[in-house]
Symmetry: C2
């Protein structure tokens, strides 16, 4: 892992619609190489998977009305439906555990870029499956074996701003385990695991750009091929000190 | 921010000692370009600044004995001295707010790579000042204006593994504020701020390597020059939902 790493934005991918072949759009603009890690913004994946809801006809529950504060209670209702557990609430802010186990603001529910304020984009049903499907389809279309990460922007406790993290992973080892590794002086390292998949997602975010419409990037030069799941990055409940 | 970004490890920097001219070591192995962001591992900075303590002669307090569990209570005593507030404890694990305001495991106190298990490395007294000093000295030595980030590996609530974050910053805008920015469809973005300095630190970590002895990396191709502080990345107490 000590060579140069390159982060290449993929431009020229059109605005996406439900049913679009996202891998084909990517293959059309990318020169993929074996070992590349393709990072795709969750919103792009959700759009082609049809994970988009209109607020028309959404009936807010009393709980949604209570938590929405000054914001649209229909939006809060959608957030509550995506949530398994509310971790913290301060209307209209909700930090929730999603049905997948991610802990994040608004259960990952986001405004649509393209369709206006009354349309929301939800997280994919199964981001690992989304990543695997992209990886399989890219192997088919481009004949190369790449890793795929489906990323999203998450806030953090105690630190301002979001960083991108890996929701879904295919063909990538998400955690680099240093336990038992000896350092340059021969001492066993106390640090245990590096969340490389999250660092890769964050590196890609630097070129994705929320504004310019670049939904994917290639991270090249890493040696992180392996089997793993975005679920590996979730803190097991029994080790979680912050609920 | 949509061009290619490169992450270049800086090899050939020797094991560092207190008083070493770290910028000179960097300038000797790096071909810096204007606009580069130099990311330096906190441990390297701490070593040249003499922020290294021996456990010999450290007297653990009753609190340190209580929190150390099965581990060395002298180490816990050093952690407590670096802490302003204990956020969570589960012996021997301590999540603390450091005197600088960082919330992290062990108040940032780490085992030394080079000097064995009885020597600990503390965070720099003022990581922003460390970053500024490196930036100024590199301007002097190499004649280029670069950004500098002093990074460290922090754990996260709810997610496994560490990612590198920016403790100290000089010549870099740490937060990219998207409030009020309009996206490709003309809608105002709900997402507010991206912690680009943390994403840059994480990208650099991918090539730093805890094991191979690469204490610094260059991140090239970004447009993040500006004035900012590592303190800008700390969540203000009144917005903190997780204490």
């Amino acid at each position: 892992m000590t060579g140069e790493v390159r982060v290449l934005p993929l431009r020229g991918i059109p605005e996406l619609e439900e049913g679009d072949d996202l891998a084909a759009h990517i293959a059309a603009v990318a020169e993929l190489e074996p070992g590349d890690v393709l990072v795709v913004a969750q919103k792009a994946v959700s759009k082609v998977e049809g994970r988009v809801v209109s607020l028309d006809g959404v009936e807010p529950s009393p709980k949604a009305l209570e938590l929405a504060g000054d914001e649209d209670p229909r939006r809060m209702e959608v957030i509550l439906r995506e949530s398994k557990e509310l971790v913290r609430t301060r209307p209209p802010l909700v930090i929730a555990e999603t049905r997948h186990g991610f802990v994040c603001a608004s259960a990952g529910v986001d405004a649509s870029n393209a369709k206006g304020p009354d349309t929301l984009v939800l997280l994919p049903h199964d981001p690992d499956a989304s990543a695997r499907a992209l990886r399989d389809r890219l192997r088919e279309l481009a004949g190369v074996e790449v890793g795929v990460i489906v990323s999203d922007s998450f806030g953090r406790a105690w630190r301002r701003g979001t960083t991108d993290v890996a929701l879904g992973v295919a063909g990538v080892t998400p955690l680099l385990d240093l336990r038992g590794t000896r350092d340059t002086a021969g001492y066993e390292l106390h640090t245990t695991e590096i969340a490389v998949a999250d660092e890769i997602a964050g590196a890609a975010e630097l070129v994705l750009g929320k504004v310019e419409g670049v939904p994917a990037a290639i991270v090249r030069g890493l040696d992180v091929a392996g089997d793993g799941s975005g679920q590996d990055l979730l803190m097991p409940r029994e080790r979680d000190l912050f609920r």
